[in-house]
């Protein structure tokens, strides 16, 4: 009963919204994606082009990766575009997603001061670069906030075979004891600074201390070239496949949520890997630099 009521309410509200905006929304689909995708501005290029070609409108809801996937599980949206491969695969194996198409990737880069005291410039091996950073006197700034970037950083530390330390605090959640833990390189001690803040703040912190850090390329480009007083940190290590951050598009399966507009979502997903869309992705630039790299082979479609 309750759920039915909520649905009726939702339908009424959506139709009100549509009436308010005065757009012809015959075939809108809803997509949940991550804030980083939305913030990069790429969708503002892709979606109008898709709408122009097919007449299908796409409404974008930008959230954290976890919340976007949750929207898919709850059937709130028709399609999701996220970057958390392990969780995406689980999402499909549990039957929520119909299939996954690899659309593109952006990547993480290891940044540092221009004089590069650890000597990692041009190194193709991210874990090796981390090992060298750990061995010098220079500081390393960590997001330390459980974000995707922080998770990637911890994975790289594991790969670097540097001695690591796990720190944990016990708290109580739902009546059960739960340990919150995080990982950091043991030998770095005071040189490892975990600030628990967003990417932008971490970049300013690293610049201020002339330290190394791990960043996604998009945010770095914005801070380096998108401002009057650009960062003077440099990209020192890039291109290692371990640093890739793949984005996948997943239409929600109509088997679990019969109400989703699967056909339209399917059309959108297939369009994203088409030659036209892949070209748009490859051409999309932030301050004159490529931000995303298309993953689908253009002539396969």
């Amino acid at each position: 009963m309750k759920i039915k009521f909520i649905w009726i309410l939702a339908v009424v509200m959506i139709s009100l919204l549509n009436a308010g905006s005065g757009q012809s929304t015959e075939k809108p689909i809803k997509m949940a994606t991550t804030t980083s995708t939305e913030n990069s501005g790429l969708l503002d290029v892709l979606i109008p082009e898709f709408t122009r070609e097919t007449g299908i409108q796409v409404k974008v809801f930008a959230k954290g990766t976890g919340a976007a996937i949750q929207d898919g599980i709850d059937g709130n949206v028709d399609v999701i575009l996220v970057h958390a491969k392990a969780r995406e695969e689980k999402f499909i194996s549990e039957g929520y997603g119909a299939y996954r198409l690899g659309v593109m990737h952006n990547d993480f880069v290891i940044l540092g001061p221009a004089d590069d005291p650890a000597g990692i410039k041009g190194s193709p091996d991210a874990a090796g670069a981390f090992r060298k950073i750990a061995a010098t006197k220079v500081k390393f700034i960590s997001r330390g906030d459980d974000s995707g970037t922080h998770i990637k950083e911890q994975a790289l530390w594991k790969d670097s075979r540097v001695a690591l330390k796990t720190e944990s605090s016990e708290i109580i959640k739902k009546g059960k004891k739960l340990a919150l833990s995080f990982l950091y390189p043991l030998e770095m001690e005071k040189k490892y600074i975990s600030i628990g803040q967003g990417m932008g703040k971490t970049l300013t912190f690293a610049e201020e201390k002339q330290a190394y850090t791990l960043s996604d390329r998009g945010t770095f480009l914005k801070y380096k070239y998108g401002r009057k007083l650009g960062l003077n940190l440099e990209i020192l290590c890039e291109g290692d496949p371990k640093l890739f951050n793949p984005y996948g598009i997943i239409p929600i399966s109509p088997k679990i949520h019969p109400h989703v507009k699967f056909e339209l979502a399917d059309q959108f997903a297939k369009w994203l890997v088409s030659k036209n869309a892949q070209n748009l992705i490859a051409q999309y630039k932030i301050s004159g630099r490529q931000a995303f790299f298309p993953d689908a082979i253009p002539d396969s479609n």
Binding site: G144, D145, D146, E167, S169, E170, I171, I172, K173, K174, G175, K177, L180, K190, I193, S194, I195, G196, Q197, K201, F205, E207, E208, K209, L229
Partner: protein, 233 residues
């Protein structure tokens, strides 16, 4: 409800297990706040005296400005100090930004107006006869000041306690100038902000409860101190 009991139990558990991270955070908070309060006290109380007991043109203006500074938002102080001490600022070479020193600089600016104005009002309220009596008895300026301090000491201690409460509870300056670096500049308030951002509300509220506990302990201590002084009188 469940959420609050979880938080409360977590707070107890963190204290009970002498959680290393928690005590590190409390240590940084207490250290930074105490030093700021001490410096602000050493600067603010004497200047309060000077302003209260000297007559000069523009005295009212000075007091009005000080009263205005009471409403100074922490982010404004943060921004201002940031502009001076960042690598691109005038004092950039000293590498001050994102250190405990930076937080202390900001906090001192925050509470000097509090200490000064409250000292002014505390000593102005003391009957002028004390001052005149001391002066007629041949006391010099310093001795007169001591007489007045003795009379006004409760109000001055209250000013210091209030200033301490302000700095230990503020988050803007600690975040902007300290940068929330774990083990260096992570204070109780910035840690709470971080756990909130991460969605760890339980830990955040637990830290809030610990912060209240610490403030309570500090106030009991000050209260005891004040009460003792009164008893000896």
């Amino acid at each position: 409800m469940n959420f609050l009991t979880d938080s409360f139990l977590s707070a107890v558990l963190l204290i009970w297990t002498l959680d290393h991270n928690l005590f590190e955070i409390i240590g940084v908070s207490l250290k930074v706040s105490s030093i700021s309060t001490l410096i602000a006290g050493l600067a603010g109380v004497p200047s309060g005296f000077l302003i209260a007991f000297s007559e000069f043109r523009g005295k009212r203006l000075v007091i009005t400005i000080l009263n205005t500074l009471l409403a100074l938002p922490t982010v404004v102080i943060g921004l201002f100090v940031y502009a001076f001490i960042s690598r691109r600022g005038v004092f950039g070479t000293y590498d001050l930004l994102y250190t405990q020193k930076a937080i202390i600089i900001g906090q001192v600016i925050l509470i000097i107006p509090i200490v000064t104005t409250l000292t002014i009002s505390a000593v102005s309220r003391i009957d002028d006869r004390y001052r005149k009596a001391a002066l007629t008895l041949g006391a010099n300026l310093l001795q007169t000041a001591r007489v007045i301090i003795r009379e006004a000491r409760f109000a001055i201690i209250a000013a210091i306690v209030m200033a301490f409460g302000r700095v230990i509870a503020e988050v803007g300056i600690s975040m902007m100038l300290g940068g929330n670096a774990k083990g260096f500049t992570r204070t109780m308030t910035t840690a709470m902000a971080l756990e909130y951002d991460k969605g760890e509300f339980v830990l955040s509220v637990a830290l809030g409860l610990v912060l209240l506990g610490v403030s309570f302990a500090v106030n009991i201590f000050c209260n005891y101190f004040q009460g003792k002084g009164r008893g000896n009188n």
